[in-house]
């Protein structure tokens, strides 16, 4: 089958590899219809995540058709059209039972700090991902959800990660009616977080980024304010100033370890890798939230250390909330929201690229070329 193949930092290609097999009684094999590239994949692509092995296939946002199921699978049937949450979750461990599906303890031998994720390095379990024609899906009765008849496939594929992640970012902000919410990052996740902040009753939503076309997009899509941090001398002072010198009630980090905007963070974090990526957005979030405010982190960082002003967290009495999104927990509510028209996920899709051109797709998304917001890869077998 054709699959994306990682060759090293900034180098990927589409290549033939053997089709996946059932390796556990509760596995399914899914034939992929479409699969996205995520901002999280960029951290792998840039070589920031330890134990990213050459030959791996990325991709944790995909939908497809069930081709085969193991003997232990009871609910899912061959032929079902499913969306597959990016977290691999057993449904049985203490964490899954508490609906922390992003923190399952039975899906990743390599690290205890993160649950298994499709196509996300050996640090997240060593599973091949969905940027391929076929993919192995463990715990097939737990994660995959049969796509409702009336749902657009682009909406379905975005419900595997981006929508729940943006929603959970807002949810973790503990937004109270009337709160001012600042979202760092106008990528797919930040855009969705801004949109969802309103659903929790935000009184004002402000997005910060430095890519002009993305700021334009989010301003329009999420009906919010959006500012370019390159046009201000100090984003923290700027945010203080526009919040009556008080600070925001809630700050959301939807950037993660590839953050720009501070030379010292960029050099030590992204170039020399002395920290787990650059923590510029998180630094700004902590420093621009009000005293007693909440910082919600969904931006992804590596497993080592980052330079953040932890002293200010103490002195300001900030609550930090963070997690990988618990996709399965949120899906029922989010499907309702899509149906009611509160969220229109498919509107953020900017590119549809054949899987064969995966190298160009990664470069376009990484370098923010051609006004790219969210690229979808279509495998050859899904185009016939």
């Amino acid at each position: 089958m054709l699959a994306m193949n990682y060759r090293g930092p900034f180098r990927v290609r589409a290549e033939q590899k053997p089709e996946p097999e059932i390796e556990h009684p509760e596995d399914a094999i899914v034939r992929v219809l479409r699969s996205c590239i995520c901002g999280s994949d960029l951290h792998l692509y840039h070589g920031l995540v330890p134990d990213t092995r050459v030959g791996s296939t990325f991709g944790h946002e995909f939908i497809g058709i069930v081709e085969a199921v193991g003997p232990g699978v009871q609910k899912l049937k061959v032929g079902d059209k499913v969306l597959v949450p990016f977290n691999i979750a057993c449904g049985k461990c203490a964490f899954c039972k508490q609906e922390l599906y992003g923190n399952c303890h039975e899906s990743n031998p390599e690290a205890t700090a993160v649950g298994g994720i499709f196509g996300y390095s050996h640090t997240a379990g060593g599973f091949d991902g969905g940027q391929a024609e076929y993919v192995r899906v463990p715990y097939a009765d737990v994660g995959p959800l049969v796509i409702p008849e009336d749902m657009h496939p682009d909406d379905a594929v975005l419900l595997t990660d981006v929508v729940p992640t943006g929603y959970q970012a807002a949810e973790m902000g503990g937004i109270k009616k009337g709160d001012t919410v600042v979202v760092f990052g106008a990528g797919p996740v930040g855009i969705m977080a801004a949109k969802c902040a309103w659903l929790f009753g935000a009184g004002r939503v402000i997005v910060i980024d430095h890519i002009e076309y993305r700021l334009d997009f989010v301003r329009n899509y999420a009906q919010c304010e959006a500012y370019n941090f390159r046009s201000m001398t100090d984003p923290v002072v700027f945010l203080k100033k526009i919040t009556d010198w008080f600070g925001a009630d809630v700050c959301i980090d939807a950037v993660g370890s590839d953050a720009a905007g501070n030379a010292m963070q960029t050099i030590t974090g992204r170039k020399m890798m002395l920290q787990a990526g650059s923590a510029t957005a998180l630094h700004w979030a902590i420093n621009s939230v009000k005293k007693g405010g909440i910082v919600s982190i969904v931006g992804v960082y590596g497993p080592t250390d980052n330079l953040v002003p932890i002293g200010n967290v103490v002195n300001k009495g900030i609550t930090i909330r963070a997690n990988q999104a618990s996709v399965k927990r949120l899906l029922p509510r989010l499907i309702e929201h899509v149906r009611s028209g509160y969220i229109d996920p498919k509107a953020i899709v900017s590119h549809r690229i054949p899987l064969e051109e995966v190298a160009d797709a990664y470069h376009i998304f990484s370098a923010k070329l051609d006004n790219c917001i969210k690229p979808i890869l279509i495998p050859p077998s899904a185009r016939q």
């Binding site: 203490a94 508490q98 205890t112 051609d370």
Partner: protein
């Protein structure tokens, strides 16, 4: 509740306990299962068909795991060493990053062995760069050419001087 009895000697124990005040609420549905530790009804164990390294912060591998790209070659040796150290140690993560870079060289060697010369420009998506960022690409190439020419000239001069 047993705990109430257990701590009855402590005045006011638990009076303000409020499940809704669980700091992860509503992200976490509190069930009390935490106190059972690792004693849940485990899923069937996947059979080990490939070498799978596991964190030393857990007693054994998880019930399922990925079997792609098992450790091999020099990078594999480094990865095995890394897994002797915990996720809390630099001796875990830094060797893994090193192994990843060694693995890149192994990947190129592997390609060549199979008679495939990797097209690094295509792998880096330069076709898209040419289409959407032509001036940027030309700038990059020009700078690279200038730097190389300068380096060549300087080395030539230096070697000439030595003679």
């Amino acid at each position: 509740m047993d705990l109430e009895k257990k701590f009855s000697h402590i005045k006011g124990w638990g009076v303000d306990a409020d499940p809704d005040n669980e700091p992860t609420y509503p992200m976490k549905k509190y069930t009390g299962d935490d106190h059972q530790r690792l004693n849940w009804d485990r899923p069937v164990q996947q059979t080990l068909t490939a070498e799978v390294l596991h964190s030393n912060e857990r007693p054994e591998v998880s019930a399922v795991f990925g079997t792609t790209c098992p450790p091999s070659g020099w990078s594999g040796k480094i990865r095995r060493y890394a897994f002797k150290h915990s996720e809390s140690s630099y001796l875990h993560w830094l060797p893994l990053l090193l192994a990843d870079r060694v693995n890149v060289v192994e990947g190129i060697a592997d390609d060549l062995r199979k008679g495939h010369i990797p097209n690094i420009f295509a792998e880096k998506g330069w076709k898209a760069e040419w289409k959407y960022n032509r001036t940027g690409l030309i700038k990059k190439v020009t700078v690279a050419a200038l730097v190389t020419t300068a380096a060549v000239l300087i080395t030539k001069k230096l070697t000439a001087k030595k003679r």
